[in-house]
């Protein structure tokens, strides 16, 4: 009896949590439809004078919308590089023992720990010296510092869940390594690739300190455009709220696409 009762109220936990998550987002959304005067002047749960002016300002000003395009370009390049190079490495870590493997794995992880604040200045000097300053590829490469270790780590976990017999059977059947890897192994861990790509996208999209340090005009990320606006033209709260709201859109789209991969889960032990 008691189990049934707990089961019927169980949904309250995620429900309350989601409400808590949505409150600040709702407030941001609410403000994005208000004029700055209304935000500062009155307190209301819904916009009194509903306006799309903030969004119109963003979509008509190239410095604003180019910020979004720049961010998306370097995030996509980074995700592609990170996952591509992490796949064979994760396979090596999950299947083979080789000289220095454990140390190498831990060394990779340590790069996930490096505070971006520490690396900002040296990164600026390094990428300037290579004439890559203010390019998308510079930010994409810089973000590899923390995304590759993460991708290797996640993929290694997924791959270790696949029984070794799968590899052995394929090799006995005469598959060469690369053919086995691309035709059989990668589809088996598709969910893992989805999850790894999701995390790479996410950490590259939200990072600001390095992206801001490595760009000035041509590759300036949207988050940096926002800080500039906040400081140069006073405190345009409505505009800032609208820009903030729009930064959530790409993330929401990506989550929507990978939701089934995450939902299908790490059910690979059963393959």
């Amino acid at each position: 009896m008691s189990t049934r009762r707990t089961a019927s109220f169980k949904w309250l936990v995620p429900f309350v949590y989601i409400v808590f998550l949505m409150l600040p987002i709702y407030w941001l959304l609410n403000m994005s439809f208000k004029t700055t005067n209304e935000i500062l002047g009155t307190f209301s749960l819904f916009p009194q004078e509903f306006t799309l002016e903030n969004y119109r300002a963003i979509f008509t000003d190239p410095t604003w919308y180019n910020g979004y395009i720049n961010s998306l370009i370097y995030v996509c390049i980074n995700t592609l590089i990170s996952v591509t190079v992490a796949l064979p490495a994760a396979y090596a870590f999950s299947r083979y023992r080789f000289l220095g493997d454990k140390h190498l794995f831990f060394w990779l992880l340590t790069n996930r720990m490096a505070p971006a604040a520490v690396f900002a200045l040296p990164f600026f000097q390094l990428y300037s010296a290579m004439n890559l300053f203010d390019t998308h590829i510079a930010v994409a490469l810089a973000h590899c510092l923390f995304n590759i270790p993460l991708a290797v780590w996640i993929l290694e976990g997924f791959m270790s869940g696949v029984p070794k017999e799968l590899d052995e059977t394929a090799y006995i059947d005469g598959y060469p390594f690369w053919k086995f890897f691309t035709k059989i192994f990668l589809p088996t861990i598709a969910a893992g690739i989805g999850v790894a790509a999701f995390f790479c996208f996410m950490f590259s999209w939200v990072e600001l300190l390095l992206a801001k340090t490595l760009t000035s005009v041509d590759a300036k990320p949207i988050a940096a455009v926002m800080t500039r606006t906040a400081s140069s033209s006073g405190y345009e709260l409505g505009l800032l709220a609208a820009a903030g709201t729009l930064t959530m859109v790409p993330g929401a789209i990506v989550i929507f696409f990978v939701r089934n991969y995450i939902a299908k889960g790490f059910a690979l032990g059963r393959v």
Partner: protein, 288 residues
Amino acid sequence: MSAKTTNQRAWLLVAPVVVLVAFNAIIPLMTVVNYSVQETFGDNLFFFEGMKWFEEVLSSERFHASLLRQLQFTFIILAIEVPLGVAIALAMPRKGFWASVCLVLMAMPLLIPWNVVGAMWNIFALPDIGLLGKTLNAMGFDYNFTRQPFSAWATLIAMDVWHWTSLVVLLAYAGLSSIPDAYYQAARIDGASAWAVFRYIQLPKLKHVLTIAVLLRFMDSFNIYTEPFVLTGGGPGNSTTLLSLDLVKIALGQFDLGPAAAMSLIYFLIILLFSWIFYTLMTRGEAK
């Protein structure tokens, strides 16, 4: 666990990763090491100073204070986020439409750029125009995070819980999904209690993902910069000046490259040490 084969050619598979990461890690790190042992008066003139900056940083009260604040912050958010995340993952629907809805909504905060998170919480918590600040004050609490250190701390922690608990939920949920239904059926036949199911079926399966969750949350909370910078700017006073905020103040605010570099290295070594301890403790059972 089946034994791994020894194969030195596996290095070829790892090589691209090593090259890319080493390029990004070793050259900048050497630059920092270089600064940390030198004094500069501008004009690209540097003088060797040996361990001077390290001694200075390690004995400075300012560093001790921000390190202590940092440790407090990290400890508090780990103590809240990990159990909360596991509890939410356990209570979530296991599959179907509602599971997808939960996952999509919960992942939202993770994909918001960090300065937007800070700005969002700023306007959410401001006592004059924010929903949270206004509501708390209307309920009779004296709440103003720009003036009171305690309110600032509470807001900072609420923001981090809001921002990152979902990461733990996602990882824990993924771990739980990997448990075959047969295990639960067997437990039901044996008449196992909910606690026994958690302790002997769910927790062991969660171990690997929880290792990832704890380590990620530890590293990221220790490196946190943008969100508190936008939310409180380290204030009021220095009450929320965490390590990285202090570091950037010294490096870019005062342009003391030597002490800043020395502090960076000490900072990095602390994270390394803790992570290594966590990593060894949590993977001890697996490595035999």
